[in-house]
């Protein structure tokens, strides 16, 4: 089959698709709230997201996880709406809602039938400035968050190992702290801590409102003016940069946990689109991640899982759109009879190959083909599109970066992939963690049964 012909068809396709595309519309209210609207009239629904420029990377020591804790408390009532009413009103209007916190953002969303957008705006505007933070609600919600931490991290060996790994890999960057917070910090939040955090970051001039779906931008802007314009802005003091110090040599750690399988994580210090010396470097790292892990034909699946059968699974990941410099990570679980050191050597070998040999054209085109196609598939989901805009805006890149992602990835050359591998994937900038399984309680295999069912 003629690969060049296929690739030409792919290149042509997003252009055709974007022809029918509706652009993003932007409007900034007098109080600084930025409103972004992306139209999609395929279904009579709308997603509305409020993004705050605050997340775990903004947190000082002692109160790690407080952004996430505040996210939970945002459902606990205002002057107008007592605890629980927010969710009840959204539900009665047929809505779905939730919230999420990351290193660089805290976001709240509702998806609703398009005519109900005002319901979402009224509630979000209200809790942006009028939240009640009550000690008795905090006491209960603290327990909830502690249970959440147990479930997500403490009882999950690989997640727990990742937490330790991030703390190893970063010296002073706030990315060393888990988004959910360290246990003793969680146990000691006080209402005053949350109040201060809320006052400091929750204001219209520190937020972005993203709306995607079956709506007209003008009407959304008018509605946003109605509900959000009365809110007063705050003076937002910029967070300190906390630039990570230079790493001066490889770092290694062993994490011993009750588990059944060993596990390996490796991470190289790399810049992001925001921090890279040249913008293309971030896109080249993105393509490099694709060469290793962009599907089942990529090198890790093809070479390590199938070819050499060293791993039962292996992956590579890079976050292009983070606020601060971060890591290019590789992780893998060894196949039976292999160990983490075999895997470490094999993964390093893959990196060396990228540094000395150019990725061939067909392989590079395959990575780009997937990016081009994914740009079409992503448009199946309003939620995903809104999320992309919200995230880019919130980390300070600007939502416009969403528009040139495909073009920029497409411009990446084999030489650029080699060059970023040479420049950033260096042994001295590497951290490695090994999960060493400890035996799980012997009695686990012998359930204590009071038989009832047959």
């Amino acid at each position: 089959m003629n690969n060049r012909l296929l690739y030409a068809a792919l290149l042509w396709l997003p252009m055709f698709a974007s022809h029918a595309d509706t652009k993003v519309s932007e409007h900034v209210l007098g109080n600084g709230l930025k409103v972004l609207v992306k139209e999609d009239h395929r279904s009579p629904v709308v997603v509305s997201q409020v993004w705050y420029k605050v997340g775990s990377s903004y947190e000082p020591g002692g109160i790690t996880g407080i952004s996430h804790m505040l996210e939970h408390m945002m459902f606990k009532g205002t002057d107008k709406h007592p605890a629980g009413e927010f969710s009840r009103i959204v539900a009665e209007n047929g809505g779905d809602e939730n919230a999420f916190t990351g290193t660089d953002y805290t976001a709240y969303f509702q998806t609703m039938e398009a005519s109900r957008l005002a319901v979402s705006f009224e509630l979000e505007a209200d809790r942006m400035r009028n939240l009640h933070l009550l000690a008795e609600e905090l006491k209960k919600e603290l327990e909830v968050v502690t249970e959440e931490r147990r479930m997500r991290t403490d009882d999950n060996p690989q997640a727990k190992m990742q937490e330790h790994f991030m703390a190893l890999a970063h010296t002073n960057s706030p990315y060393k702290n888990p988004v959910i917070g360290w246990p003793s910090d969680i146990a000691n939040y006080k209402v005053e801590d949350l109040q201060a955090w809320y006052q400091r970051w929750y204001a219209p001039n520190n937020a972005t409102l993203v709306v995607a779906g079956d709506v007209e931008p003008k009407a959304v802007f008018a509605l946003a003016e109605k509900y959000f314009a009365p809110l007063k802005p705050s003076e937002i003091k910029a967070v300190k940069p906390q630039d990570e110090v230079e790493q001066l040599g490889v770092r290694k750690m062993t994490v011993k946990l009750p588990a059944k399988l060993p596990y390996l994580i490796m991470g190289y210090k790399v810049p992001t689109l925001k921090t890279a010396e040249h913008e293309w470097e971030a896109y080249a790292l993105e393509v490099l991640a694709g060469v290793l892990d962009g599907g089942s034909s990529a090198r890790l699946s093809s070479g390590l899982v199938r070819g050499k059968q060293l791993a039962v699974s292996a992956g590579a990941s890079y976050s292009l759109a983070s606020r601060l410099s971060g890591l290019f990570t590789l992780d893998a679980t060894p196949a039976a009879g292999k160990n983490v050191w075999d895997l470490e050597a094999a993964l390093k070998n893959e990196i060396t190959n990228l540094q000395i040999k150019l990725v061939d054209t067909v392989e590079l085109q395959r990575i780009k083909a997937q990016v081009l196609a994914a740009a079409v598939y992503e448009r199946d989901s309003n939620f995903y599109q809104a999320m992309q805009l919200g995230m880019l805006e919130t980390v300070g890149l600007g939502w416009q970066k969403a528009d040139d992602y495909v073009t920029k990835v497409n411009k990446v050359t084999a030489e650029q992939v080699r060059d970023v591998a040479r420049k950033y994937l260096l042994e001295d900038k590497l951290s490695v963690a090994y999960l060493e399984p400890l035996p799980i309680n012997e009695s686990a295999s012998e359930p204590n049964t009071q038989k009832g069912a047959k």
Partner: protein, 437 residues
């Protein structure tokens, strides 16, 4: 003020006319049922071919369905696993296989540009009709499955699920985990997979789902291309009835975790169940409604006992599980379980209030359009409708079916179908000795 708001609402709701998806249905000459929905606006299509070949068809070879499915894209005709992956990925297509208790499926998401589409479709056809089941690929996938099974043993949640299904279904085909057990999977040979494939991956046992930007004619050709190379075959016998537990049961599995995973339940509802909508709406109030439900309120909002507390019916061909679940710090397991059981018992005895029912209906019907506002979600509904042979107007009548539910019908259905005397309770976690505290 109010007038102003109304005009805004008018402006917001766009002029576009929206109707519930129209499902077209036909049968191929080989006897496969096809379900097709045309969607416009994006040059892409989601295609799925599903077989009545889920883990319920494993027989005593637990995990056979899953391993057969996992091996499909590792070799077909002339192509090895790399060839297959490259063929899909060079045209930006996404391919996957998977199994549930009832169903085994292969699915493809691809662009509809002819050049790209044809290559993806040809590859999918090869996988479906001519899989190799090579010894080397088989050994590798088998050991990956075994590693996955081992890993389940480090997850209290997975251990609880496995014990729960066993407690509910015993020796019924729903009673074992889809991925099998280390003992059964270790014993497999390629011949087992081949004969499973030959028996179940046949035209008479297949449905084809197509949702996307293809014309009816293209859809017909697509379905024909995919299944014409399959053996005609026959449909397998229907699965045996589920035998209900005869009495309540409790099982604790000791595990060194900080939380105890709690599962309570019994066989619940099935796809063509006349009580289904009543149970569904009732459960929405009890523990199904996201951040608003009785369980969520009692366990989390009032007492902070858990992050997640919920209940669900999982309708399958035969009654799938009714499950009430939470995870809590080991030393408060007893308290959480008491709250869970009391909330459930209250609901069975008293049912919901009119106000609760009204709120639930508003949530379900008001958010109806969001259930399938992406091609992906729509395709999964169409697949369910096709696979379980549900009425083609299932989505059209969905809201009406919800509206018809009453407080009395919920009380009646829960009394008949959710019996505390038959509940199976699984706990997995560390029991707390009195010295610890």
């Amino acid at each position: 003020m109010r007038i102003h708001l109304l005009s805004l609402i008018f402006l917001l709701a766009s002029q576009s006319v929206w109707a519930v998806a129209k499902i077209e249905h036909w049968q191929t000459p080989q006897g496969s049922r096809v379900y097709y929905v045309q969607t416009e606006g994006l040059p892409m299509v989601d295609i799925q071919v599903a077989f009545d070949a889920g883990s319920a068809r494993d027989g005593d070879q637990f995990g056979l369905s899953a391993l057969t499915s996992a091996l499909l894209d590792s070799g077909a005709g002339q192509w090895n696993a790399d060839d297959i992956a490259q063929r899909f990925e060079s045209v930006g297509a996404q391919f996957g296989t998977g199994v549930s208790n009832d169903m085994a499926s292969v699915s493809l998401r691809t662009l509809t540009d002819k050049l790209l589409f044809d290559k993806a479709l040809e590859t999918m056809r090869g996988i479906l009709t001519n899989p190799s089941f090579n010894e080397a690929d088989f050994q590798r996938e088998k050991s990956r499955t075994l590693a996955g099974l081992k890993q389940q043993e480090e997850s209290p949640g997975d251990l609880a699920d496995i014990a729960f299904y066993k407690a509910l279904y015993g020796d019924h085909p729903y009673g074992h985990p889809s991925s099998g057990t280390i003992i059964t999977v270790s014993g497999f040979e390629t011949a087992n997979l081949r004969s499973f494939y030959q028996k179940y991956y046949v035209a008479a046992n297949a449905i084809v789902v197509i949702v996307g930007d293809l014309s009816r004619k293209q859809a017909e050709l697509t379905a024909e291309t995919l299944v014409s190379g399959l053996q005609a075959g026959t449909k397998p016998d229907v699965l045996p009835e589920v035998v209900m537990p005869v009495k309540a049961g409790k099982q604790h599995i000791e595990f060194p975790s900080s939380q105890t995973h709690v599962l309570v339940g019994m066989p619940g509802s099935y796809r063509k169940d006349p009580d289904y909508f009543t149970l569904y709406v009732g459960n929405h109030i009890l523990g199904g409604g996201g951040l608003v439900s009785k369980l969520f309120d009692e366990v989390r909002e009032k007492r902070g006992l858990a992050y997640s507390a919920r209940s669900s019916f999982a309708p399958m061909f035969r009654p799938g599980p009714f499950t009430v679940s939470l995870q809590t710090r080991n030393d408060q397991t007893g308290q959480a379980l008491d709250v869970l059981n009391l909330t459930l018992a209250d609901f069975i005895n008293q049912g919901p209030t009119e106000a609760e029912l009204l709120a639930a209906k508003k949530n379900i019907t008001g958010g109806f359009a969001m259930r399938f506002d992406t091609n992906k979600e729509l395709a999964s509904y169409v697949s369910m409708i096709g696979f379980y042979d549900m009425p083609l107007d299932y989505l059209d009548t969905f809201r009406q079916n919800v509206e018809q539910v009453t407080v009395a019908s919920i009380k009646d259905a829960f009394k008949r179908r959710v019996n505390p005397q038959l509940m199976q309770t699984i706990t997995v976690g560390a029991s707390v000795s009195s010295s610890e505290k």
